[in-house]
Amino acid sequence: MRPIRKILVPTDFGEVASYALDRAIELAAKLDATVTVVHVYEYSLWAIDTGRASAPDMARRIKQAASEALSAAIQRRSSGGVVVSGALREGIAWSEIVEEARALDADLIVIGTHGRRSLPRALLGSVAEKVVRHAGMPVLTIHLPSEEHPAKVSGGSKKRSASHSHHEEDILAVSGAIAGGTTGAFAGPPGAAAGAVIGAGIGMAIGKALDDEDDRRKQAEAKLDREIGVVGGNLGLAQPRRAS
């Protein structure tokens, strides 16, 4: 069994991914391994001419926002002595993650997953499950500490917001996924397609309960919100998670 030297951690900047990344860095410290954070964004579906912004312009802005959010996520964790680097990819999340792991020759993938939060999600399978199925190297799947495991929750106040945002994320992701079918080839109307993209990719940060612990992240996410908010508005997409 080869030793674990390179750990790949996919992130959508959501709470679960963030939690998984922190755990991965703890492991890396112990194993003397390096961590690469990969974010996959998808802009093909956003490349719809809405009249207000051209497709290339929108693509550029999405990439820019993704890049900044990734930098912020890495920056925030660069003080602990573990080498953390980033990788940005465009495409279908699970397949890009597997591809990146292969390219990196990673020894381990650590990935956050929502698990059994809703039936439709359970039926469709998650990005994490596809990664488990397709990656050649060991994959560590991590859930957020749940209500059933109060002892493992680090901060009492975070617990409530965690489960809350999960719930909302599920609703959004599932509605998008149903509109798009099970294959990830989204064929719904523009609004539904946009929902699917939000559920699946870059827009996970929309309306996310902002974490007070880090201003940089806050700013990056707010920017992401703004970027996507413009597009979403143009497509007639309400922002359900922001409303709460």
């Binding site: 069994m1 030793p3 922190d22 755990r23 703890e26 492991l27 112990k30 194993l31 997953t113 698990g115 059994r116 359970a122 994490a128 499950e129 488990v132 199925r133 397709h134 990656a135 050649g136 190297m137 060991p138 994959v139 560590l140 799947t141 991590i142 859930h143 749940s146 059933e148 495991h149 493992k152 680090s154």
Partner: protein, 150 residues
């Protein structure tokens, strides 16, 4: 955060689970973790049909065989890492694995998956997939063949 303080490794004595055991052993040493081997067995469905066997007839030999195999794996593993124990459970594999992890207060499950493709893979990986989906603690899946060869 505690991770790799107590690792549960489900084993069915097939190659994937033994590969997982190797990795679990390595991690257990590194993190000075407790290691619990879990083997589950089921009384096959045909025991309930008109095969002439009854479930009770089969129960003892199957349980004996399971106990013996687990005992051997346990001894071999304990020789490499003293903080090892073993649990034998009868029932549906994924359920028993989750229950065993919970009862052991394990913080991680390390388990093998078959590196197969297509329908065969989809079926054979179902125990691991259920565990991944339903486990409250992190699950480390280990492919039997690196690179996805079957």
């Amino acid at each position: 955060m505690t991770m790799f303080k107590h690792i549960v490794v489900p084993i069915d004595f097939g190659e994937p689970s033994m590969g997982a055991l190797d990795l679990a052993l390595e991690l257990a040493r590194k993190f000075e973790a407790k290691l619990t081997l879990v083997h589950t067995y089921e009384i096959p469905m045909y025991a309930y049909s008109t095969s002439g066997f009854s479930a009770v007839d089969l129960l003892t030999p199957i349980e004996d065989a399971a106990r013996q195999q687990l005992g051997e794996a346990f001894k071999a593993t304990k020789a490499k890492w003293p903080r090892t124990d073993a649990v034998l459970r009868r029932g549906v594999a994924w359920q028993e694995i989750l229950t065993a992890a919970e009862e052991a207060h394990a913080d991680t499950i390390v388990m093998g998956t078959h590196g197969r493709r297509g329908i065969e893979h989809a079926l054979l990986g179902s125990v691991a997939e259920k565990v991944v989906r339903l486990s409250k603690v992190p699950v480390l899946t280990v492919r039997s063949h690196q690179g996805g060869k079957s």
